[in-house]
Amino acid sequence: MNIIYHCYGGAHSSVTAAAVHLGWLPTDRIPETEEFQRLPYFDRPVAKDHGRIRLMGKDELGNDIYVLGRRNSARIFENMAQGLLDVYNVPAEEFQFYDVMPYVNWKMMLGGFSSRKIGATFLGRPIITIGTKHSYWKIVTLVHRVKILQLKGGGGNQ
């Protein structure tokens, strides 16, 4: 199975969700700032990376975990992805798409904008890290839900 976590820029919330899924971040405490900053792709992608589906790794069940930045096209992307699955006769259970944007708070948006859009990394990165910590448990809950659905053998995109 292939699991794709997507958000606006593919740089913060989706990367965090994928990292939690892969066991790179703890689920029993909020990670330290350095743990976020050590993550591959965390606060690194820029606008020209939007639209690229990036492989983060394989989870314990052998599923491939990806992240994607799709700007404000969440619904269009999911419609398109489901439609392409039908066109190419790919079983829907093989690909799961999870929108992490509902768990993004204003600090993450402000930090992401400052760091990625205007390039003020020195300002944006600390703000985004604080914001991610504030939403951390919600992201962990999402990942737990995803894993439970996998174990039940199913599906269900968000």
Partner: protein, 148 residues
């Protein structure tokens, strides 16, 4: 091969381009009411993004349209990557972006459609199609050359 024509909704400019590609309408033929064209303006805005099958082209290629709002480059890239993950070879998937040829009349029509002003929207769509047809014909001529 599957060919996807992209536009804002997948049911306006891209439908015209797809039908012209399939030679079901000519570049100068617009006496036919737009309403009669299969798929034209037959989409709810929540369904934008779902591929719409238009017909079969030469060498059994399937022609679809796809709505991408104003993010044609981003979503075309994502679609390429996604089909790669499906195991589809690059030669089996082609995207033709008609977004650059969407006229302001069509955009105005989409705006009126959002406001549920159907008749006004249809008028603007008709004006849009008249404006777009020549550039779409040139685009399609290039496409046919690339594919042959």
């Amino acid at each position: 091969m599957n060919i996807f024509f992209l536009c804002r909704t997948g049911h306006h400019t891209s439908i015209i381009a797809a039908l012209m590609y399939l030679q079901e309408i000519g570049k100068n033929e617009f006496s036919r009411d737009l309403v009669e064209l299969p798929g034209y303006d037959q989409i709810g805005l929540r369904d934008v993004g779902k591929p719409f099958f238009v017909g079969r082209g030469s060498s059994n290629s399937k022609i679809f349209t796809l709505g991408v709002s104003r993010e044609s480059r981003l979503l075309a890239r994502t679609a390429h990557e996604l089909t790669g993950l499906f195991g589809v070879s690059p030669g089996e998937f082609r995207v033709v972006d008609t977004s650059p040829f969407v006229s302001r009349w069509t955009d105005l029509g989409l705006f009126c459609k959002r406001l549920r002003l159907k008749s006004l929207a249809r008028l603007f769509f008709y004006l849009g199609v008249r404006r777009e047809r020549v550039s779409l014909a040139k685009l399609l001529a290039k496409e046919r050359e690339l594919l042959s």
